[in-house]
Amino acid sequence: MPIGKILAGVLAPHPPHLVYADKTPRNEAQGECGWENLRWGYEKCRANILAMKPDVFLIHTPHWQTQVGHHVLGLPHFSGISVDPIFPHIFRYNYDFNVDVDLSLNIADEAKKKGLISKVMRNPDFRVDYGAITSLHLMNPDWNIPVVVLSANNSPYCSFDKVELGEMNLLGEATYEAIKKSGKRVVLLASVTLSHRHFVKEPEIVEDMSKEHTYSHAQYIWDMRVLKLMKEGRCKELLDIFPQFIEETMSEVQAGSLNWMLHAMGIPNYPAEIHGYGTVIGTGNAVVEWKHEQAMGANA
């Protein structure tokens, strides 16, 4: 069996607005348009990623929040309707996808070897969170590639500190070990927004782009600072500023998804490609691709 590899890592944010504007028949609510910078960014990224012919999409999702341990979906198939509890008027998505259970189990095992708590979710009534569904739809709307879904052990009900971010780093390393052993060609998705302060009122027409703008200049400056580091391949520095970034913008990177992904990729020192940046109800979002296999060759 060949050694498994990471083909790419993608910062793949999950505003449900993008699916709403995408007018997919899977979603019961359909907008007219909107957030094109991000949707077109996703289109470019998707074309690159699907051309790599991955075996699996592996996503870390902040909206599956777990108190005890890192959980993975552990049944071969999930279907149902995912309704966003905050934006139910725009996101009611009928999902139906397959899970790479072997890789899920391997990740859970490798995490345990690193001293982490991991659990396998085998309850068939479990509803997959809207964040994972959104990012996965935008990367592969045909859903013809199996996925692995990892929870975020960063519940807002727990105090958040560097220890938990450290756990995400270990989880990333465990993920890489599992991928290598699986022989699979994997794309990683970190499903997080950048700056995360947002408006608490929507425009009358949700997709009215004349009302969409960044929450504040300070938040925009932070996003640009973060994206510059990504673009220049300075991921070590990027990780170092996350605590301040989180503090000052309530950034969703606090979920640890980016820590996880960057550590799985050995903290890349090559430039990432930014496919798009835009705001959604004031939050800062970017679609960013690390072409890992291309940069690392045999070491991917």
Binding site: W64, Q67, S82, V83, I86, H89, M121, R122, Y157
Partner: protein, 426 residues
């Protein structure tokens, strides 16, 4: 005015899946399940028209939501504790009441939507409470979300809006707040038989809050909410108590009963009954459109006028000076034996004025950050304006603060140098 109480009782209950699905795994969870059963029997005796739920696990951020689907059913697996099994649920929702709640909340200036979507996620806490308190849908239900951004005044206002809706719909309710007390979870699996409160500090604070609730000391309990939140990571800042206080109305207290206090995975899980001492009536049904407020804490008025008057959603506060209730001395003023001013300190006086206004606003369910207009009366503009302005800046700024008019007056009714009159959102 309706004299029958709109709310016969309310309960604070925990909403952990363990109590429903794993009660046999340890004495603590079993005890909570048994206490739930006692509450269920009390509710049957109370025979309400409706059970109103507010769960800290149903979070909203764009204002508020109420469940508007007349029949909600499904099967739920908890995101954390999915290994415990699934929970099926059915709610008979009083849609008309839900829509009235949404209207009343909207009238307060908040966004509020009645949601009616197939597959809309119902939170674990509400399901656990419904399964244990109203399993056969003997009583109709209502659900109101918990907005993460709601402050004390806003959250109390939401409570008042629910009471208003009960009044308008002529319903008698039992109210259920689904909330933990301390909310630190263990982040490792703990043998259920060894479950315990996360820390002695959490335990101490839980017992302190439970003691106040058992005494029925609502005001004291409310005053401790910020400390409780900071010291024991109380569930959603324990804002649920603000909500309950809003429902009960100003000046109402209750008889408290602690049915149980246990831990679930480290959190403080208590079941508490709160029985109002006087009938809960809809103050707002009459007071909302027009009512006067005479403060119990601010200095007495020097004429026949109230401290504040509510008109619709606005609160008009009378001119307020720096005096202190029950004291003849005036902060920042030194008088001679004849009552003439020897010296005065405009800084001290201005701070005292703000303190008095803050007190009155908060008694009325408003707050300084809801002030929309401010009139300032100074007795010596030339001497005091700059100093006054610097103190004023500590409370308001030009970006988010109220409009303001400042005038000099020949004198004020008492020997003070500054008086403020404000209009605020109620």
């Amino acid at each position: 005015m309706k004299t029958q109480s709109l709310i016969s009782r309310s309960y604070i209950v925990p909403g952990q899946a363990q109590i429903l699905l794993a009660k046999d795994r340890c004495l603590q969870w079993s005890s909570l399940s048994n206490s739930y059963e006692r509450v269920r029997k009390e509710i049957i005796e109370a025979n309400p028209d409706i059970i109103v739920y507010c769960s800290t696990q149903w979070i909203s951020v764009l204002g508020y939501m109420v469940q508007g689907d007349p029949e909600v059913s499904g099967v739920h697996a908890d995101h954390n504790w999915h290994e415990l099994g699934s929970m099926d649920y059915t709610f008979k929702i009083d849609r008309e009441f839900a829509l009235t709640c949404a209207d009343e909340i909207t009238k307060l200036g908040h966004v509020c939507k009645a949601v009616q979507y197939r597959g809309f996620p119902i939170d674990t806490g509400t399901i656990v409470a419904q399964r244990l308190l109203n399993p056969d849908n003997r009583f109709a239900s209502a659900m109101v979300s918990c907005c993460v951004y709601g402050d004390k005044a806003e959250t109390m206002g939401i409570g008042r809006a629910i009471t208003q809706a009960l009044h308008l719909q002529n319903k008698k309710a039992v109210v259920v707040l689904v909330s933990n007390f301390s909310n630190h979870f263990f982040n490792k699996d703990v043998d259920p038989r060894e479950d315990h409160i996360f820390s002695p500090k959490d335990d101490e604070w839980n017992k302190k809050m439970l003691g106040l609730l058992e005494k029925g000391a609502l005001d004291e309990a409310l005053a401790e909410v910020p400390n409780f939140a900071a010291q024991a990571k109380a569930d959603m800042g324990f804002k649920g108590l603000w909500w309950l206080a809003g429902l009960y109305g100003s000046g109402n207290h209750f008889r408290g009963q602690v049915f149980d206090y246990q831990s679930v995975c480290g959190t403080g899980a208590a079941i508490v009954g709160l029985y109002p001492e006087k009938p809960v009536i809809c103050e707002d049904a009459h007071a909302k459109s027009s009512s006067n407020h005479i403060s119990s804490k601010a200095p007495e008025a020097v004429g026949p006028y109230p401290h504040a008057r509510r008109e619709g959603n606005l609160l008009f506060v009378s001119g307020i000076g720096p005096r202190v209730k029950g004291s003849k001395t005036i902060p920042g003023v030194e008088l001679d034996a004849q009552g003439n001013v020897l010296t005065y300190d405009i800084t001290v006086q201005t701070h005292s004025v703000f303190q008095n206004i803050k007190t009155i606003l908060e008694e009325c369910g408003s707050s300084l950050d809801k002030v929309v207009d401010c009139q300032v009366f100074l007795t010596n503009m030339k001497k005091d304006f700059a100093t006054f302005n610097s103190v004023y800046r500590e409370y308001f700024n030009s970006e988010t603060g109220p409009t303001r008019t400042t005038v000099e007056v020949g004198s004020l009714p008492t020997p003070i140098a500054v008086e403020l009159k404000v209009i605020a959102r109620a």
